[in-house]
Symmetry: C2
């Protein structure tokens, strides 16, 4: 299959006749801000060709990007897929990858608008998703105030307990509900509650106190705190403000050392995904 053949096939999988030109041409939604996120997935780091079907790889690649849009309270519009294929990637794998990605995209009115294809000896996929919110209404990590209450949108650890084979569901509807509720801070839990809460608290200049960890059925406390890839949303609301019906209260924020977390009153070490533990610490920034 040549690159021109591949582009022809992908054009059929997408709704965009312009795929194959140098850029995609998009009409930005009027009166809104754009949200842009990119996420790179690498074989044997974020998924494994040995345990994940091509359909699941496609689903998962897009789910990560959509979850970032959900975390900002955004509506998703377009996605772009850059793929580095290996000599053993065949048309069957590629078709199933785009079917998995396409199924999730269709469920959220997202168009595949472009991308790039190349080769490598390690399969990887970089997904760019573009969404939008009304001006000034995007949810961020840094807006939380002392005494705000912390919530998550669901139980945690199920994806880790499944060996990361569960298909994650990005919480786009809840993100939009939280934007309308004016949540003070929001992010998605991609790397585990402990590390992601540390990031939210650090960005908001606050400490966090956890009273309850909503562990998913079949998962361990370790998996709920550090497993990651659940793609539930972690958010804060001012005390007294009613959260969405499915939200679970997990604790609160206070004016202590930025980024510090206590669980049942005791310091919690930050655990979770860090792909750069290997980079020489003598070169710390």
């Amino acid at each position: 299959m040549s690159e021109l053949d591949l582009i022809r096939a992908i054009r059929r999988w997408s709704s965009n006749d312009l795929i194959g030109d140098d850029c995609a041409i998009l009409a930005p939604p009027r009166g809104r801000q754009l949200l842009v996120t990119t996420d790179m997935l690498v074989d044997d780091v974020h998924f494994s060709l040995a345990t994940h079907s091509a359909y699941d790889c496609g689903w998962k690649a897009l789910a990560r990007g959509l979850s970032d849009i959900a975390a900002m309270g955004g509506d998703p519009h377009w996605c772009f897929v850059s793929l580095a294929l290996t000599p053993s990637t065949d048309r069957k794998w590629l078709t199933a990858f785009y079917r998995g990605l396409g199924a999730l995209a269709k469920g959220h009115n997202v168009s595949l608008a472009g991308g790039d294809l190349t080769r490598s000896d390690r399969l990887s996929a970089d997904i760019c998703v573009i969404g939008s919110t009304p001006k000034g209404r995007a949810l961020t990590r840094f807006g939380a105030q002392a005494d705000d209450i912390l919530y998550v949108t669901g139980t945690l650890g199920a994806v880790a307990a499944s060996g990361y084979t569960l298909r994650p569901q990005p919480r786009l509807d809840l993100g939009i509900e939280l934007r309308r509720l004016r949540a003070t801070a929001c992010m998605d839990i991609s790397d585990g509650l402990a590390l992601d809460l540390h990031r939210l608290a650090l960005a908001s200049g606050l400490s966090a106190s956890l009273d309850e960890i909503p562990v998913a059925p079949g998962a361990s406390m370790e998996q709920a705190l550090g497993g990651g890839e659940d793609y539930e949303l972690l958010f804060s609301l001012p005390p007294g403000k009613r959260p969405p019906r499915s939200a679970i209260r997990i604790g609160s924020l206070f004016g202590g050392k930025p980024g510090k977390i206590r669980l049942h009153g005791r310091p919690l070490s930050v655990r979770g995904w860090d792909p750069f533990a290997h980079i020489d610490r003598r070169h710390r920034v």
Copy 2:
């Protein structure tokens, strides 16, 4: 260096305080269309860590994306960089990569607005560039008409002749000039004149006739036709319309078999970059 440390460093290299949040928040330019392009570069495919400095890798990664914006006649605005780093990538390499990318970005008023970092055993970089044009004014590959004259913006083959170590200069100013001139079709020559002209002619449903190949000093005809990575623009204008001063006339388009090319009256085989020659032809689309 941890991921949080890296993000802190990259935030300093960029102008965007929001780097580190789930998405970048961008104000789309009013009354314009967006242009979006993604380009993935892989070590030993598009560059080589053995022969390219980190600075040149960063420059080259962005140059490819900017050239796609130039090809559509666009003004570039933001870039996003997803990097898969290997265990041997150190802070010095990373800093130089962002310095090279940043030098080119600054010269064209492009902001580094976000990205992703992960690890792999093969270094790769995926660059997304977002630009814009006035509505309905983007240049495409498919608008050429029979009898239009073909031009390129400069001589070809110099980058191949240098062993791909020359720093390419994306032709953004010329792209904007061609948009104002209402060029009928335009694209960048990333994969060699023969293959890229084949693509433009195919998209426009025409044949092409080449009278002259502007071979760069020190380059061979083979390098000019199939070397690629010069990032000059290939474009068409109606007969009688005056091209930019630096443009070189190379031939014309006519109503023959779509995508067919003749050089001095004889059929020219399509040569150039195809990363998918390895994919089994029995699975042709």
